[in-house]
Symmetry: C2
Amino acid sequence: MTKAVFYHAGCPVCADAEQVVLEYLDKSKIDTEIVHLGTDGNRIEEAERVGVKSVPALVIDDKVYHINYGASLEDVKKG
Amino acid sequence: MTKAVFYHAGCPVCADAEQVVLEYLDKSKIDTEIVHLGTDGNRIEEAERVGVKSVPALVIDDKVYHINYGASLEDVKKG
């Protein structure tokens, strides 16, 4: 089972991408953790380290897939 | 069954995103057509019309999800 993390910040663009992740990723192959960086600020550093520049972003096997553009990680840090 | 179209242009960023689409989208829920705009140039107009600005992009139900940034549609037009 592949592990994935979907980082978002509750923005409308994030919600839209989250819907795709929840609805269309194959749960028999990929296990996706949803992380809201706005409420879970202690995960920001981890997201940054793996290469997340903006949200929403899906990380699979240390590869980062930025899906459209909701907000920069810098903006998320500012709250 | 939801219909989706994945537009790409053979770029490395495209190939990376294509791998996720092919491997992790749930084929029991979503039927994804792969379109190479470099070799299938007569589909560029359709991609543009639905709102694709760059490749790779995944279009589901008329919503466009740009996944990272490989090349602009303008660049693809130039070949």
